[in-house]
Subunit: 330 residues, 3 copies
């Protein structure tokens, strides 16, 4: 199905998931999956479905955001997410500016609110923000009238990562409801884990957090997750295993003894994978530490959907930029 | 009024200020406001007026510089000015390349002339240059036949900042002639102060430089400015107060004792502002050091035009890129 | 002759060099001139000839790669080559993303293959790669199905630099066959020297490597080059002298005593140039260390084609991006 509309009309011909009602998108911002209803999440996924086709054309462009401006405002290093948003904006024919470089006004002591209001005064339509502080995206949204898309705020949420993971699961499994999903690793510090948890539970999946007690605290049960410290004991139960990235910089802080130890207990090797369900889907947000979270045979094997995640990420971000800008009166 | 012309014809329908004659723009470079006549400055402001409308459209683009190339060549850190020129170029449909990154040929010991002639050999139409040396932009203009726009050269001039300040004043006050304008702060090191001085005086305003004797030397009287070291003594006289940015890096060099001392004597607080004229206009080139040059209530208050400056900066830079490229035979 | 075709048909009206047969371009990658036949090299040069016209238009754009994505993936600092590819991509109407920034996934420990497969999963059509390891471009080409263009891999090859040098020689001399070409300087560490050697020899020129024995080892005779350690003894023999850049960072490693000594023996001064043929062509890949490889009078003199090299580099890179993308089924 093709999206070629220049202006505000929603992409034509989208097929809502049976049972869901079409939603006129009401939110100019995407801050957290926790804020959305199941129907709203499905609407983004369906819009992304329509946009996914664009990336398979030879001319990978639609005029939906022509003459609009998307700004990347990244306060943490990122190539992958920043590039994905950049390509998504280009594919929508938007112009893009990058405020992410070092030596920016921020390093001159400007506060976040002033930076944002300056960006808005320059006529930017959508700000994509990544920030080390949880809640920074919501704070940003209060400063400006243009759209704000959260590209990761501290340990809080990374909603487009959650959406692309869920999109990839739905693509492979045909549904979310009733699935058993494991999220393995440094859950305590992971905004990816939180966005997945909220999105998956709203759509009817069960989520288990798996990892050492230092990284998977009991307190997460209150969010609706099952907690488990022994991967081997439960590995046969899951339809999906989402392996979080080990932050090398956290190794120094002694939350677990060594890469070898971590890998032996919580890494996904070909051998361990044989004890999982035969149709289990393996995800990883990237970049992979090969040999730590995943061995090469798993990362590149038939159960891995890691590269599909990357491809789907673009479609999801096109959908999010498109919907939020529409809601802002674009 | 709309600008939609693809090629060399000047934007249609511009209304010259009464008394001024329309000027066919003769200069391929913009190096300093000191070089221009009052009529020429007004012509840029009027062109910017026409371009300002473009930024309020949903499709914020005109094809005026389609297929032309604008190069940013920044030898000093800048997000704000560099982004403003980037957005201005995009709005004119130009392509943009950035030579500003670290690890450039310059760091390999190449001289400025070779860098510029290489940029020209790559087919660049307009070079936007920022450089720590006063006179660098003029030197650049002698090396190449393409257009050169000065985005700040040492302590010399920052003409597009001067123009956007004057544009913002004209927008608020309806005129420049006869106004009393204060420029407060580190005048000695400020290219913004110099560009404002030259532009404002040519258009018939009076300019007073206010600040400590270490930062506002008597010698500036020879440029036509009135000099004053006591803000409180004169604050009631001004139609416009333009607060310069305190360069934190200069604090180390002991030109004034402390931020607190500076702020107490030359900062603009709500209390001090109450002794100014009720219709005084407050400007600041940004980024603001809140609590030093301005308190938050002044920065965000009804007399502040700081965000309008940012918006107007885009229109002014569109006009400058457009006019200079036209003059170069674009 | 004009190139305005939107899609896969080859640029119309190109005149093959007499004796050469038109070649339907079969390679999705450009990795090394050593891999190509004389006819294939001539085909790229002829395609570049057609594209060279585009850069002389006021609208410097053709729609050949509209909606396609070119990615710069530079693991070594570069402004010149990176910008040249950027402008070439823009002139073909491609979108461009830059993976070259510090703080990229690579610095998070991701291996090159994963980085490349991620870039491919994002829908990139052509990857332009520079890498410190010889063979990195060929390795990259094995990881992905999209096009890979080598922008310099270790000491191996820099094929677009070789092509633009040969293009510039053909432009000035009307032919390559039978010419005597000197390549002077740090040949041992130069990928530029290797690409020139292979390309020039295939087209029938003779190549002499000139420099101190530490930088011009005898072993290069096996590649088909003549070796010489005394520039003055042979300077009268050459139609073309291509001066390699002295890498300042290598000075520290004591391969030659000093800049002064190097310059005295192997630098090209006006005085030394007078003993060369009157129609000798002087090339340099840039950036120039003035006073070391070349004196100013030579760099800026009538025998120098250094700025033409820069201009031709764009046309060559447009041709390479265009042909490789066509071969990939673009």
């Amino acid at each position: 199905m093709a999206i070629s509309t220049e202006r505000g009309t929603p992409p034509a011909g989208m097929t809502p998931v049976p049972g869901a009602t079409p939603v006129a998108w009401p939110y100019r911002n995407l801050l957290a999956l926790e804020d959305l209803t199941a129907e709203e999440i499905v609407h983004i996924l369906d819009t992304a479905e329509a946009f996914r086709d664009v990336s398979t054309r030879s001319v990978k462009k639609v005029p939906a955001l022509r003459g609009r401006v998307v700004a990347n405002l990244f306060f943490e290093d990122s190539t992958r997410t920043r590039t994905s948003f950049t390509l998504a904006a280009q594919r929508l024919s938007a112009d893009l500016v990058d405020f992410s470089s070092k030596g920016s006004s921020v390093s001159k002591g400007e506060n976040l609110r002033d930076t944002l209001r300056n960006i808005e005064a320059m006529g930017v339509d959508v700000v994509v923000i990544r920030h080390p502080a949880s809640g920074a995206a919501a704070m940003a949204a209060q400063c400006v009238r243009c759209s704000v898309v959260n590209a990761g705020d501290g340990r809080h949420e990374h909603p487009t990562q959650g959406l692309l993971d869920i999109f990839t699961i739905r693509q492979a499994k045909g549904r979310i409801e009733g699935l058993n999903v494991a999220i393995v690793g440094d859950v305590a510090n992971s905004r990816v884990a939180r966005s997945n948890l909220h999105g998956l539970r709203k759509l009817g999946a069960s989520v288990t957090f798996v990892g050492p007690a230092t990284l998977v605290p009991r307190a997460f049960e209150s969010l609706g997750a099952r907690i488990c410290h022994d991967l081997d004991a439960v590995i046969g139960e899951f339809d999906v295993i989402n392996m979080l990235r080990v932050q090398r910089e956290r190794m120094a802080s002694n939350v677990f003894p060594s890469f070898e130890e971590y890998s032996r207990l919580f890494g996904l090797s070909g051998e361990r994978l044989r004890r999982a369900r035969p149709d289990v889907l393996v995800l990883h947000p990237g970049p992979i530490n090969r040999g730590i979270e995943l061995t090469a045979d798993v990362a590149d094997g038939p159960r891995s959907a890691i590269l599909q995640q990357v491809t789907n990420g673009l479609a999801v971000r096109m959908a999010v930029l498109f919907l939020c800008h529409q809601a802002a009166g674009g």
